[in-house]
Symmetry: C2
Subunit: 286 residues, 2 copies
Amino acid sequence: MTGTASNLQIVRTVKDLRQVVSSWRADGLTAGLVPTMGALHEGHFSLAERSVADNDRTCATLFVNPKQFGPNEDFDVYPRDEAGDAAALAERGVELLFAPGVEEMYPEGSTTVVTVPGIGDILEGACRPGFFTGVATVVSKLLVQSLPDKAYFGEKDYQQLCVIQRMTADLDIPVEIIGCPIIREADGLALSSRNAYLSDTERAIAPALNAALVHVVEALNAGMDVAAAEAEAARQILDAGFASIDYITARHPETLEPVTDFSGGARVLGAAWLGKTRLIDNIGVE
Amino acid sequence: MTGTASNLQIVRTVKDLRQVVSSWRADGLTAGLVPTMGALHEGHFSLAERSVADNDRTCATLFVNPKQFGPNEDFDVYPRDEAGDAAALAERGVELLFAPGVEEMYPEGSTTVVTVPGIGDILEGACRPGFFTGVATVVSKLLVQSLPDKAYFGEKDYQQLCVIQRMTADLDIPVEIIGCPIIREADGLALSSRNAYLSDTERAIAPALNAALVHVVEALNAGMDVAAAEAEAARQILDAGFASIDYITARHPETLEPVTDFSGGARVLGAAWLGKTRLIDNIGVE
């Protein structure tokens, strides 16, 4: 199933996207979707490879969605390299890349938004107002535009995955949402397009976020009080050189609500600022 | 294409709905959708007849959507007669009725809402907070659940039609939204399920709403100032015996924003209270 760059078709309109996916359907083929904002790394490639393995055809999307960036966030400087991304996707056997412009996704006059109250309001939703509305809106559009059998999202953005699963079920979009494991550097740092913002010094400090989450998991497994474990982890991160912490918290693995009983498992999630870069990470607890 | 009651299949789950529509698709047949809240009258029947004429198969839906009623509105007493509605739809050649329960449409834990800022915030949206969010959410679900070729809505709820067209375009739902003309009693009263609430005395007063909108149209055509025409119409309605007016206004025919230049046409919309019943109506101006 390995292709070359010449086997990757690039389309820029919803109409062309639908035409290609319809032709797959007409041939009785299954389709997987891998939505991305580009700046692809091994985390994205693992999604593409999973989709290529699971489905007859795979469509990746590349759209830096302005609606999920706040007014003071990094939309303008978010890394962009379509040619490099396209070549890498082709190498991994992706057949189609949907790379629309902003006007195609949000034509003049469009206003509709999809909101996921509850799980979309806490943690990342509280730190980044409007973020999950932007995510839910663009993902609902991408899913309805292409109507694949399955769509793939990384657990790196674990809350985003939960929000997308909630939204897809609630709006009855007939697509199976698949979460895929976080890909990490050897020192534990979760791969992220935003790691490119880190200086060499910051890069050396960055794994402290993952280490602190691991510490919370170990403390919970050892029976330590959850608030004490979270506080210890926060101190570790700040001692390591992070500038500030948005949250370090153990939550219910599906609702992401605070819990005191972790017998059903937990997800430990963290968000912290390293210089001007905001990093997030998470780990599951059995 | 006329059927009998025995030709109408009733389904109550999204799964069964999809199975029937898929079987139509597999046979190469086109599908029309007629969403309703039941309590059907000739207005609804005109939608069903249009769909039956336009498409190979027609599915009507019957769901009194709790999310589009405010806390002090008439959800509990909204008229319900599924057996009568089903028989009438069968007579008109409708093949399928989707009549889900609230749990099927909004399972426990569901939270996602679809909002249409702008056109969804004014007029009815301002008078009935949350109304269009409830409408946009349930209609997006019904459209995505069934994925028909076309879906039919009455111009009686003109702003609702505009909101649904906006939402369907914005979320890229591949369904053509068709607006159908208002059906009126001989005296001009627009058919509405809520007309059943009117006493005999109120029923005699009710056509004054339509008459006042006609007056605004004639006044605009005669070159009268729009504010003066609206004020005259409001006085007429109150003089006729209406209790109060929510709005009587001439607007841009698509955005429903206030305009001063009506050379591109207009829509004159009214909402007023007759006793405890709220009536709405509208007329187009060429």
